[in-house]
């Protein structure tokens, strides 16, 4: 099935051709963690994930057409 992947800021370098958004094909039943592994984002890099602009768990399973967003952790204020 096809999903959309968006990489934000420093994570963009883990996207094909460093694109910020692209279509990606995964098997049915793929969860968010699996997508992050397929992207080769190092485990030591801290980031959060959204599916369709809502926070998700690594275990959340994606559906066809879903958009998954990876964004780096930033704190401050």
């Amino acid at each position: 099935m096809k999903i959309r992947v968006k990489m934000v800021s420093v994570l963009q370098k883990y996207a094909p051709h460093e694109m910020d958004e692209f279509i990606f094909t995964v098997e049915k039943g793929t969860n968010a963690k699996k997508v992050s592994e397929l992207m080769d984002i190092p485990e030591t890099l801290k980031y959060n994930m959204f599916i369709n602009e809502r926070y998700c768990n690594p275990e959340t399973v994606l559906q066809t057409g879903d958009k998954i967003t990876f964004f780096p952790l930033m704190d401050g204020g």
Partner: protein
């Protein structure tokens, strides 16, 4: 004593008398220091009903037992007093180098009462202290004051002072130390100004003795090693872009307050983002004492009309003066920030008050004649000009100097002030970060992120993520984070390091690393339970003060915009903050009545004695 210096300096400006007092070791342990010590003395000696700008009010500057020890980010102190902005207790915190110098000069805290008959400054030099005439400094900016004072005392001395805003009793005047670090919030600078105290200058050479130096060193080594490991793959965002890097996250999550909190996303966010700041204006990073992060920004702006040099802007300044005013000109924001530092003003309240005025102007509740100029969204020139007028209490600035609540109330629209307990919020819209709304409403000092910041869970996922849009079950983690913040503030640490590296990775954020540092430094043998109880004790002691000053559930509020108007854009679209539901849960978790009054049982359990009744 170890960690603590064991001495407090008392200054009575009415009689110009000063004396040293021993710090009781039991009180030191129970209160930890800093914020805990401050509220202990306020509850003991200050009438909660006193007028904040009267001589009766006390101003306490208190460092923590880890301040100056070399523990990472052990650089901080608290300024505590009754606030002229909120009428509640306030504890405003700052880093830099002044707090460490205060410890090296021999003191854990300075307690100032009374009012000098004319401007003075306090000069503390290796355990010697004197009040000196400050007539020649009155009217000077914080930078000028600092330069003049180091020239006339000791070039290595550290200075905390007020600028013209504090002298003019602007309700949100700051106390600036080391020129650009601010104990910014709630008008602590106005209290100092009301006492005719222009500055405190310190110089010291004493060592801060540690109970178990070997253990301290070994633990420090491990912590710093783990920290370095954690940033191997990518440096910390805080180091690269400062706190301003958070613009990306908050805009993405739809919680970047925009147009006086009418929306949570800002189309031009990239123009005010930390990366833009780094590219266009960064001169170098700046770190507080013993800090491995260095989130401070030394910046320089050359655009005509906005030229200047200094530190900042931080994320909170960028939200308040930027998206919140629809200003996407980072040069204008930086310039207004420089002016705030030099005049001694809180950037959050300054920006948020201008944003509120812009909405009042748009809706016709303020006229061009009253403001003295048009005040449209996005006008960076107006922001800079009004910042100047506010500090000097000139023109429309005299009304802005009262903060957004009093301004909006004066034209019959208090609901347009984005405040809790009359203090403006930091930059996280609680419609898209529910626990933040609870933290704002229950913060003892009014709208604040530093007195409890569950945005760490909800927006940054540190140390564990929580769904920001869910309100159920948020009371407990909010309480845990508030208690942790109290411990961080009392110990003299910075939240940016401590939350990531010195607390456990659960939603309880147990202060395991702080415990190890505290015990090695002080030898006080805290158990984890004792330390956590000490954090809870601080929150309850502050609440006792608030209750006696007349505060209750009726004051733990948010503006109706946040609880009734659904946010119109971004991932949080359609949601409001469920404050009342969370409050019910929160008071229960705290062991307070449903009116927000600590129960006798809770106070007895925390050895705070007495009732908290009004």
């Amino acid at each position: 004593m170890h960690g603590w210096k064991g001495k407090i300096l008392r200054v009575d400006l009415n009689t110009r008398s000063m004396n040293e007092e021993k710090l009781n070791p039991d009180i030191a342990k129970d209160t930890i220091g800093g914020r805990g010590l401050g509220i202990y003395y306020m509850n003991k000696e200050l009438d909660p009903l006193c007028k904040p700008l009267s001589p009766e009010n006390m101003m306490i500057m208190a460092a923590g037992p880890l301040t100056g020890t070399g523990a990472p980010t052990g650089a901080r102190y608290m300024v505590m007093t009754k606030s002229p902005l909120t009428g509640a207790v306030t504890c405003s915190n700052s880093g830099g180098y002044f707090p460490t110098e205060l410890k090296k000069a021999g003191y854990d805290a300075i307690i100032v009462t009374g009012k000098a008959d004319k401007p003075v400054y306090l000069w503390i030099n290796h355990g010697q202290f004197e009040l000196r005439d400050a007539g020649h400094l009155w009217g000077k900016t914080t930078h000028e004051t600092t330069d003049l004072l180091t020239a006339e005392t000791d070039t290595k001395a550290r200075v905390a002072c007020i600028g013209p805003a504090g002298e003019n009793l602007v309700r949100f005047a700051a106390i600036m130390n080391d020129k650009d670090r601010a104990a910014g919030r709630s008008g602590v600078g106005a209290v100092m100004g009301s006492k005719n105290l222009k500055a405190i200058v310190v110089r010291g050479k004493e060592k801060i003795a540690l109970a178990d130096p070997d253990k301290f060193k070994a633990f420090n080594h491990d912590i710093l090693k783990a920290f370095k490991e954690s940033i191997k793959e990518a440096p910390l965002g805080l180091t690269v872009n400062g706190t301003a890097g958070v613009v990306l996250t908050t805009n993405l999550l739809g919680v970047l307050p925009t147009k006086n909190w009418q929306q949570g996303t800002f189309d031009n966010w990239e123009n005010i983002h930390g990366e833009t700041l780094t590219k266009k204006y960064l001169v170098s990073n700046k770190a507080c004492y013993a800090c491995p992060i260095g989130c401070g920004r030394k910046t320089k702006v050359e655009e005509p009309g906005f030229q200047g040099e200094g530190e900042g802007p931080e994320y909170e300044t960028i939200y308040a003066m930027g998206s919140n005013c629809m200003i996407d000109n980072l040069a204008a924001i930086a310039k207004a920030n420089f002016l705030c530092n030099e005049f001694g003003l809180d950037t959050i309240t300054m920006g948020a008050t201008v944003a509120c005025a812009m909405e009042l102007f748009e809706k016709g509740f303020l006229s061009e004649k009253e403001v003295g100029q048009p005040l449209n969204w996005g006008d960076g020139d107006a922001l800079v000009e009004l910042t100047r007028q506010t500090a000097l209490c000139k023109g429309f600035g005299e009304r802005l100097a009262q903060g957004s609540f009093r301004l909006a109330d004066s034209v019959g629209h208090p609901e347009l002030a984005m405040v809790s307990k009359k203090q403006e919020f930091p930059g996280y819209d609680p419609r898209g970060a529910q626990a933040m709304g609870l933290a704002y409403a229950t913060s003892p000092i009014g709208g604040s992120h530093m007195r409890g910041d569950p945005a760490y869970f909800e927006l940054f996922g540190i140390p564990q993520p929580m769904d920001p849009l869910v309100w159920k079950g948020k009371a407990k983690p909010t309480k845990s984070f508030q208690d942790l913040s109290a411990i961080i503030d009392a110990a003299g640490l910075c939240i940016f390091f401590a939350v990531r590296n010195l607390a456990d990775k659960s939603l309880e954020v147990k202060p395991t690393g702080i415990l190890a540092y505290l015990n090695a430094a002080t030898g006080a043998d805290y158990t984890l339970e004792e330390l956590m109880a000490a954090g809870e004790r601080i929150i309850n002691a502050e609440r006792q003060f608030l209750v006696k000053a007349g505060f209750a559930r009726k004051d733990d509020t948010l503006p109706s915009r946040l609880t009734k108007e659904p946010t119109p854009t971004g991932p949080a679209k359609g949601s409001v903050c469920h404050l009342e539901e969370m409050l019910d849960e929160y008071y229960q978790v705290r062991g307070w009545s449903q009116d927000g009054i600590p129960s006798e049982k809770k106070l007895t359990e925390l050895e705070l004695g007495g009732k908290a009744s009004q």
